[in-house]
Symmetry: C2
Subunit: 323 residues, 2 copies
């Protein structure tokens, strides 16, 4: 049994069929059949039950599967570890929230690309939940997500603290009264898709005031959300830095939040046990360096009297717990 056998086994288990596994491995079906046969002979147990619609794992196969997923991963990691040198090279794949991509990432990427010309960078956007899942399953090496998060297999490094603000159409004076009317007026929450931390915050914020049943409007982009808010369709919650330009242009109005939930941490999360290449280490170092600069406080032009009189407890900041 070597790592190749385990890859084949894992592919069959994943696809549920020998023929399909053969295609996904760019080989022929007889080949896969033979390797599974030999593997079963070597182990002395049947790994799959054959039936007319494909194959399914036996008990023994199910016990082998975690190893068959982990060992090829480790082999890949070993390759990267060995090929890695003191000068950053290769490629890194990093996730980021839509909001972080818009306002925090550009300066980091510019500096990194200049410092490490031999590294290919791939940025994937998604919600906190999606990104965390991707990091856990090794699809991403690291990700900028909303903190705090607490998972035994993850390391979360705080890189910057954002100030969350409530966005409304510019003609709204009092955010508290506005949101209180939201349900009655059929105004909507403009939110990202499920898994977005800002969305969770906003819903928790309103729930804490007893406002429920507000309709949601889901968007996939920051620009779309801001556009809808500007049009008076609803309200949303975003980092101040993201909304600053639209506010300066008078398209939306920003309302500060009460202290308990005003600040939200952005963390750089990665697997605790994964190999950190020189290229990734450099990226992490540069991110901390460039993003940890003290954030400017709330602008003076904003009326602090608009602060909402909400008291959101810890329930408003749900952390992703380890399983």
């Amino acid at each position: 049994m070597d790592a190749g056998d385990l890859s084949v086994f894992a592919a069959v288990a994943r696809t549920g069929g020998i023929t399909k596994a053969a295609h996904s491995l760019n080989t022929v079906q007889s080949n896969v059949t033979q390797r599974i046969r030999l593997l079963e002979a070597e182990l002395g147990v049947r790994l799959f039950q054959r039936h007319s619609r494909g194959v399914s794992l036996t008990n023994a196969g199910a016990q082998l599967l975690p190893y068959a997923e982990r060992i090829p991963h480790l082999i890949g990691e070993a390759k990267r570890a060995a090929a890695d040198g003191p000068v950053p090279r290769g490629s890194i794949k990093v996730g980021a929230l839509e909001t972080a991509t818009a306002v925090r990432l550009p300066p980091v990427l510019a500096a990194y690309a200049a410092a490490c010309p031999e590294v290919d960078i791939e940025i994937v956007t998604g919600t906190t939940a999606e990104l965390v899942e991707a990091v856990l399953s090794h699809r991403l090496e690291a990700a900028f997500t909303a903190g705090p998060l607490d998972h035994p297999e993850l390391l979360a490094l705080p890189v910057v603290e954002e100030e969350l603000v409530l966005l409304t159409a510019p003609w709204i004076g009092d955010a508290a009264a506005f949101s209180a009317r939201a349900a009655a007026d059929k105004l909507k929450l403009i939110v990202f898709r499920a898994g977005c931390t800002y969305r969770n915050y906003l819903e928790a914020l309103l729930a804490a005031r007893g406002i429920v049943g507000v309709r949601r409007l889901e968007f996939g982009t920051v620009d779309g959300i801001i556009g809808c808010v500007a049009a008076g369709i609803g309200i949303t919650l975003l980092p101040r830095a993201v909304a600053a330009r639209a506010a300066a242009e008078g398209r939306v109005k920003l309302h500060a939040l009460p202290d308990g939930i005003r600040r939200i941490e952005t963390v750089l999360v990665r697997r605790r046990d994964a190999f950190v290449s020189t290229a990734l280490k450099r990226f992490i170092d540069m991110s901390r360096e460039l993003l940890s600069a003290p954030e400017p406080g709330p602008q003076r032009s904003e009326r602090r009297s608009a602060k909402m009189s909400l008291r959101a407890g810890r329930a408003a900041a749900p952390a992703i717990k380890g399983s």
Copy 2:
């Protein structure tokens, strides 16, 4: 790169030479040379520096080495996991203290052998330090050692609590006076070799009374130690259950110890991350079941007045700390 390549690589790294590695792998030198060559070609880096006295790891090789040690281990574990079924079979390799082997293990082994006839059992004896090291390096699947011990990679399950007693020749009335005279009289401590927890306890016990410089006599067997004590050559510390028979025969006399250090825990230790086969799980379950029975208290025939007036602090119970 597959697991076989990594095994070859690890062997070369371990032995420091291609020829020596070839011998240890039961193959020829040209073969190893070739595989290392191909591995280096595949990774695009040089893994060893060749010099006249053999080879040594390059930087890249050193980064690869931990993977090359871990992956073949995982492969073996995967095999065992897959071949393992609901009925205990295969083999288990368990360590135990000499004392535990003598008095605690026989009933467990008898019951286990009857319950699991298809399992080959191997028992290895050693000191606590030796056994812990063997478990950590995967040479043993589990071991009975003296607790408490605290190591991040180990799980320690308490199975039985022993009462430690001081053994002297039968004509000694007062253990305290006896041990005080030990240094002057050139009496000896009869102890196991270094690493034995009882030995550490005994030395700490005397050191706490200011008795130092007592000569030691090292033995490898319980019987030898008891025999020497019976002959009046010295004193030792053993679990009451171990010394009970010799005491009943009048060969030695037992002296109870003060409360602080009288009880010592026996724990079943195993690696936290290692696979637990059905055979091993059954063994652990039976050990707990058979050994956790309440231990009988001190026998009435013993004179409690012989209790030593020592106060040994926590220094007398050194735990093995994680590195």
